[in-house]
């Protein structure tokens, strides 16, 4: 299979207030992350708030200038390229359906904007036709095109956001927590729609979420992030049933089971304390401050992100000895 997206040693630092005049402080939002996504595949990315998963997504789509590292699209290094030709191929669906639609534009113009920029139509009628098709494709109807975003519910707005992403006929979509802001009943509809669209259009997704149960359902492979680093990456079945990293294990033990009897008997791994500040991450393994197995080695040496089984990567000193 060929790799559509490949990220090598991506680092994304943001300048932070404070620090001295000569030494600036940085928030290391993403710190040395490498992975790839095959064509037509869905890679899930999970982790708690502030772990850098959204930043990773936005860096790939080049909303930020990466501090260092490389991003490849279909084999070409796009880290410092003029993005305009790639803007047609890579799209994003945002988390907050209320903030991601311009309140002053009609739904038709929101969906049609990318087509205007890339000259994807010849006549006004063709533009209208395309917008109507997109709206119908995401389960809205053509009369919605003349309305404003405030007239829609959260789920409908997210559908508009998806229609907008599809307008340029992209190959790759970053789904940045697209269902986190929605009701559970709507979440399922939207997730199913993502799957149907993927099948019909051959899309590749980077699916970001903090809810492992959602990611597990849609992803082929799953990456787990903690404090700016990937700690484990594996096939989604493998990760769910044979997770190796203690952080992943605690996440998986937190997935709700809709049977109270099993749920009660299950042993949950509850982590102590909070995520350390990304301004000043712990030495060595970043997870060691909350890890049950942490030893002296973990504080001294940063674990390597290595392949321990076929396609199963993990960064831990202890989990496979």
């Amino acid at each position: 299979m060929n790799k559509l997206i490949e990220v090598k040693n991506l680092k994304q630092y943001f300048p932070a207030p404070g620090g001295s005049l000569f030494k600036k402080r940085f928030v290391k939002a993403v710190d040395d992350v490498s992975f790839y996504i095959h064509k037509g595949e869905t890679l899930g990315l999970v982790g708690e708030s502030g772990c850098g998963k959204t930043t990773t997504g936005k860096a790939i789509i080049r909303l930020y200038e990466p501090t260092s590292g490389q991003i490849f699209y279909d084999g070409r290094d796009i880290t410092h390229m003029d993005m305009l030709p790639y803007r047609r191929k890579m799209q994003i669906v945002f988390q907050d359906p209320y903030a991601s639609l311009n309140p002053r534009m009609t739904v038709g113009d929101i969906v049609g904007e990318a087509m205007d920029i890339h000259n994807l139509y010849k006549t006004r009628a063709e533009r209208k036709e395309k917008i109507y098709n997109l709206l119908e494709r995401v389960g809205l109807n053509s009369e919605h095109a003349n309305r404003f975003p405030h007239e829609f519910s959260g789920g409908q707005r997210q559908r508009i956001g998806i229609a907008r992403a599809l307008a340029v006929d992209p190959e790759f979509i970053v789904c940045d927590e697209p269902v986190s802001a929605l009701d559970v009943s709507i979440q399922a509809q939207i997730i199913n729609m993502f799957e149907e669209l993927q099948e019909a259009m051959g899309l590749t997704y980077l699916f970001i979420a903090h809810d492992l149960s959602v990611v597990k359902h849609i992803s082929d492979r799953i990456g787990v992030m903690y404090l700016g680093k990937l700690v484990e990456l594996a096939d989604s079945y493998e990760l769910t049933f044979h997770s190796l990293h203690p952080y992943t294990q605690s996440l998986i033990s937190a997935i709700p089971i809709p049977d109270p009897r099993i749920s009660r008997e299950r042993k949950r791994i509850i982590l102590e304390g909070d995520v350390p500040s990304p301004l000043n991450p712990p030495s060595g393994c970043r997870f060691r401050t909350r890890c049950r197995y942490a030893t002296q080695l973990c504080a001294e040496k940063e674990p390597e992100f290595r392949e321990v089984a076929d396609g199963h990567f993990v960064a831990c000193h202890h989990c496979c000895q």
């Binding site: 803007r87 907050d96 991601s100 534009m105």
Partner: protein, 301 residues
């Protein structure tokens, strides 16, 4: 915060029933219809001043000086609002004065609002060195004493209509730039602007299509406040002798003319003063109303 605002506003606006008689509707929306009437009258008066004014606004008649308004003892029907120290008709002078007040305000608003908006959006959206430079210029403009500048300009160019416009415009754009920059900063990091960039939109396109439409509300509110401020500023300049030069009648100039005889002839200052207040107030009310109407979130109500 946004949501709180909406609930607060929606609570005040009741769904309009179709069956409600017209006059009730007008009464309930008096804060809109009254200011609209005042401002329409103002524009109408300014345009048709030649036809409406009963007398020549600059015709002096020494026998008929300091006549009180017609409804007072000693007043005549010839001069409805009385006359000033030189026997000139107050009503006619006010009618002609509306031309000056209106044209000065509109010219200044057109210049300051467009310059300030462009500066504010560019500074706010581009950021970095551009922003630093533009905002320092803005700071300097706001720190400069406007009356001093006006006097300076009057000395250099001589008093006149365009000197007044220039004097009020040259510093007047700064508050717009400040406000618009602030609004732009809020919008710059929204998801819909990020999305526009992902769609490949140029900075110009983002500023015109995504930022500008979302700051129009604030702009309208500031502009309507400005109408009042500018009429007052123009009056102040007239007082200092650097306004539109006499005998051309301006409201501010008339208020100041009556100052010395206010104990004997209050009407010289009072009537132009009332009109200034009325216009300023109307501008503010209309601005509020427009803001509500132009907000698409409230349009469906």
């Amino acid at each position: 915060m946004m949501r709180v605002q909406i609930t607060k506003r929606t609570a005040n606006v009741r769904p309009r029933k179709k069956s409600r008689p017209r006059h009730i509707h007008v009464l309930k929306n008096l804060t809109f219809y009254l200011p609209l009437l005042v401002l329409t009258l103002l524009v109408f008066t300014a345009v048709f001043a030649d036809v409406l004014a009963p007398h020549d606004p600059v015709a002096v008649s020494m026998q008929e000086r300091l006549l009180p308004p017609a409804f007072m003892e000693g007043g005549t029907k010839k001069y409805l609002l009385g006359t000033d120290q030189l026997g000139r008709d107050i009503l006619s002078r006010m009618i002609y004065g509306s031309r000056i007040s209106l044209s000065v305000s509109l010219a200044v608003i057109a210049i300051t609002a467009s310059v300030g908006t462009v500066m504010g959006i560019v500074a706010g959206y581009l950021g970095g060195a551009t922003e630093a430079l533009l905002m320092r210029i803005t700071d300097i403009s706001m720190a400069f004493p406007p009356m001093l500048l006006a006097l300076l300009l009057a000395v250099v160019f001589g008093p006149g209509f365009w000197t007044v416009v220039l004097a009020l415009s040259i510093l007047g754009w700064a508050p717009y730039a400040r406000l618009i920059r602030g609004e732009t900063l809020k919008l710059r990091y929204t998801d819909f602007v990020a999305q526009a960039r992902i769609n490949g939109a140029s900075s110009l396109r983002i500023m015109v299509k995504h930022i500008f439409p979302n700051i129009v509300n604030s702009l309208i509110v500031v502009i309507t406040m400005a109408v009042g401020m500018l009429i007052l500023a123009e009056a102040a300049l007239s007082f200092l002798g650097v306004g539109v030069p006499p005998p051309a009648p301006s409201w501010g100039y008339m208020v100041n003319e009556g100052r010395s005889v206010i104990d004997r002839a209050w009407w010289i200052s009072a009537f132009p003063g009332i009109v200034i207040g009325l216009v300023v107030l109307s501008g503010n009310f209309l601005g509020d109303w427009l803001r509500d109407k132009l907000d698409p979130r409230l349009r469906q109500l």
